[in-house]
Symmetry: C2
Subunit: 185 residues, 2 copies
Amino acid sequence: MTTRPGPRERLLDAARELTYSQGVQVGVDAILKQADVARRSLYQHFGGKDGLVAEVLRSDDNLDRYRRVMDEAGDDPRERVLAVFDELDAITSQSSFRGCRYTAAELTLTDPGHPAHAEVRAFKEGLHRLMAAELTRHGHPAADAGADQLLVLIDGVLAHAVTRPGARPALAARALAEAVLAARA
Amino acid sequence: MTTRPGPRERLLDAARELTYSQGVQVGVDAILKQADVARRSLYQHFGGKDGLVAEVLRSDDNLDRYRRVMDEAGDDPRERVLAVFDELDAITSQSSFRGCRYTAAELTLTDPGHPAHAEVRAFKEGLHRLMAAELTRHGHPAADAGADQLLVLIDGVLAHAVTRPGARPALAARALAEAVLAARA
DNA sequence: GGCGGCGTATACCGATCGTTCTATCTACCT
DNA sequence: AGGTAGATAGAACGATCGGTATACGCCGCC
């Protein structure tokens, strides 16, 4: 039998799942119960709920997931970018889809001093770099502005899918992504 | 001197302001204090906090605001649609901008039974009709799908502007809105 | 002129929030 | 073997949550 992960990992897993399905405002008790971890361990490892929430965002493999999707799509930058929107269509069609974890955290945590905000920014920054690199390889004349457009599309899909269930916004966005890719020097 | 609005109006005004700046999770006490209203009046008029929050969303003049912006842009459907994104650029550039009220409510209130969800859907539905009508007047071959694209752009701008302050996503989206408008039969 | 409806003010309810504390137990290190 | 660090269990903290109850004042209406 495999050894059970330590309390730190169990806390992160439980928090990742519960803060997504129930929102970041989920109670500490619920996280502790699902992680089957002593109360003290949370404050030992993360200093408090805020630290745990921030670490959940920081340690998320969301960026890797984007990378993986693009790598599976082959070498052509155009196909790689469009594959992202195909994946978004699949994700937003799942019944368990509850929106973008980062956008939700940003909108819910109104305290500007919350450590989660820095992680949200870091993630979006990383995603922007990822897309800009792809556009550069594609020969886009303004990769930075193009990446801005792709990010607006991605955030738009993730936000819109929550409010209009049947709309398939990723398909709409995919067509616009093609317009982004059509820009040539 | 003008007569002071009744408790119902004062509650709505206070709730509208505080649920935006502090999020829907703002306490009832804070709303009561700002509205300068007795506790009982809230439950008398709205049945509870959930009812008040839902009524804030329902009574919002956000859709009228979109209409007004387009009307001020003249008669050409193309100019009217693009004016929306100019307005979005202005809105998201304000320091008081805290994101889209509806998206935030949808993401924060994870209880699917909350009455606010119906109001969010109604608003997005109305906005979709508004944009589809404009595209139809413009001669767009698939006004419905085009409106989906515009809504993704709008939601994307409002969501992205919160997480990347200096990005001016409305400008990026405006260029893509031109691509939507370029579709011809 | 009394009476009901509305608004105010405040006390209070149980529940839950995030956090701290005490105490006990276990595993590993030398 | 002894000791230390980390984990567990659980009580308890003060604060705040949404909601209810009680008591009082004001005003119009029959």
